[in-house]
Symmetry: C2
Subunit: 368 residues, 2 copies
């Protein structure tokens, strides 16, 4: 059955086999095999203001085999690379958890397991991502589907042409891996991408066929968008030059979701390169909106200590230093309130579709 799939070009497989070659090469020269693994710590992460993304620095660390403290981890890294190479050869995808189970066994004549916990295998997959400069998706490691899309584009998924204007209100379930190897965007005539934080607002807009009236791609990740949703938005932005507008709740977590879509995240800085969308715009919900759209104070939610501390933290981030952003966050702190997008229903059930977003788009009322 795998035969029907577009065969990948073998580049990633060769990179993975390269790990084994290092071991063999060192053995032949009677040397200690060593991997040079980029350091994934805060100290090796910078915000590149010019590019507008969070990126990794150049520091690397050697992982060697003839070292009591590293031998097990070295062996585990090679085992994970081997499992990932198996995926490439068979042209299969799998989950982090299944990689763990696949590589777990008890070492012969011992009670020692190769892995005791998934916490041991997950970081090794990240190590391999950065070492081989291959996204997790290119290593064929996926999560479950999360997120939904409708709008004027046709994608090709495993040979099927899926016209995303013909999927009713339900839409296409966005897979975890949307790399060109798996998902081709055959056609897209949209003017922009609207990436909505919450599924329920996405449903409102889908039911109202907002995407048709405003000729846009309507996308959600049901909360913090998963990698598949971010990659899809990025591909539409890059390949089709579509602006990306992000619609989130008016709280520190909404700001953060926006910033991850835009600059990438600190924890996974190495992925910004192909996930971040530095030109993404924040279309709301802004601290200025409750007044502008006449929302009563009683549908706001009082900020708690956690909110206040988080907002103050955000104000210190390099990528929130623009005056407009400082004012935006200060506005929330001054009012002492946060607002959910859901609160727009206080006006009427279709306020988001018929008033809020149309006015936002008309006034170009967004933050960069």
């Amino acid at each position: 059955m795998a035969a029907k799939k577009p065969k990948n070009n073998g580049v990633v497989e060769k990179k993975l086999i390269g790990i084994a070659d290092i071991v063999i090469g060192a053995a032949q020269r009677s040397q200690d095999p060593a991997l040079a693994i980029p350091v994934r710590s805060l100290a090796n992460v910078n915000f590149n203001a010019k590019r507008g993304i969070i990126e990794m620095g150049k520091r690397k660390q050697a992982r060697t085999f003839f070292n009591v403290g590293m031998a097990k981890k070295f062996m585990q890294t090679v085992m994970v690379a081997d499992a990932l190479a198996e995926l490439q050869r068979a042209n299969l995808t799998t989950s982090l958890r299944e990689i763990y189970y696949r590589t777990k066994h008890t070492i012969k004549n011992s009670n020692e397991n190769t892995f005791d916990d998934q916490n041991e295998s997950d970081p090794l997959i990240e190590d391999l991502e950065v070492t081989l400069e291959a996204l997790r998706e290119e290593l064929h490691v996926r999560a479950e589907n999360r997120g939904t899309v409708v709008g004027p584009m046709t994608i090709v998924d495993d040979g099927d042409r899926v016209d995303c204007t013909k999927l009713g209100n339900g839409g296409y379930s966005v897979p975890s891996i949307v790399e060109p190897e798996y998902i081709q965007i055959a056609k897209c005539s949209a003017d922009f991408v609207l990436l909505v934080e919450k599924g329920t607002q996405w449903n409102r807009l889908s039911e109202d066929k907002f995407w048709r009236r405003y000729n846009c791609i309507l996308l959600t990740g049901n909360g913090q968008p998963p990698r598949g949703v971010r990659r899809l938005a990025r591909r539409l932005h890059e390949d089709y030059k579509l602006p990306v507008y992000v619609l989130v709740d008016n709280d520190p977590w909404g700001y953060y979701i926006y910033s991850v879509i835009k600059q990438g995240s600190i924890n996974l800085a190495f992925e910004s390169e192909r996930m971040a969308i530095p030109k993404a715009k924040f279309i709301g919900f802004s601290s200025a909106d409750p007044e502008r759209y006449g929302l009563p104070r009683n549908v706001g939610i009082k900020l708690n200590d956690k909110d206040i501390n988080r907002a103050k933290e955000l104000m210190k981030y390099k990528w929130f230093q623009k005056k407009e952003w400082q004012n935006e966050i200060k506005g929330m702190l001054t009012s002492g309130l946060k607002f959910e997008l859901d609160a727009l229903a206080n006006k009427d059930f279709q306020y988001l579709t018929n008033t809020y977003l149309p006015r936002k788009l008309k006034d170009k009322d967004w933050l960069d």
Copy 2:
């Protein structure tokens, strides 16, 4: 835009208006308006062994207006009914949270809010469900999309015909409301429904086109299946007479997920009537499977106290009294281990598709 949609027949709207009629009628007769609301407590829930579902008893409670303890709740109930009637008139759907925001305001010349918290409005929606005998979905209250489906069926969603064999590996994103008013199943040639607990196993089976080889509907709810997924399975079971096989992790939570699909849940007993699938079969992962399929003990996970207590609780439930089920649960307790479906990857990445499920189906190895 709503004009395109099949207009509902007004039955639910009439039921909702009936709530207002009670108030008006009582006022005209200078009486205390009262609603008779079925009691949603454990004491009013029974397992009907003959029908194989958990159902509500007949006990009702009066909610009256001229009663200091009930006046606010009565007023709130009428307000929620009014918002729900608005949804019916406009032919819109919305979320529980938006109902809360829609009905929230400060009462004139006071500091009193109609609602202070969503915890006040949610139970009233359930009260109206049982009082009016209308499922939440018929009241047009939805959650976000959760769950995915592929397989040989064509659904009609808002006028679009969606052929679920032509959606690649990604699939159709299952909406929260799949009532015939919204989703019509135009065609279905499948032999059975396979309802998979976890999204990652669903992805395995979708990628392997398992549904094509075994002519089935492949459905997941990404964990405990949401109402939309349960209703879709139930409709396929009822309208197309398809057997439903449930594939869950081998742990007490997996058993419970199966039992909710089959008999319904204690908390939402009134929904079993149209959500439960009493003939649903448990196809695995069974306590007997690790040995049968040669899984090593080290991919099992030691039961913790919570698991053990929960398993013992399940053994006491009336719907787990069959000898086979007692043995199944005892098997887990005796081994002291639980197994995730993901553990099958220990054999090989496609073991689930190529060995486990084919053998299960061939041997008719399931529990009822």
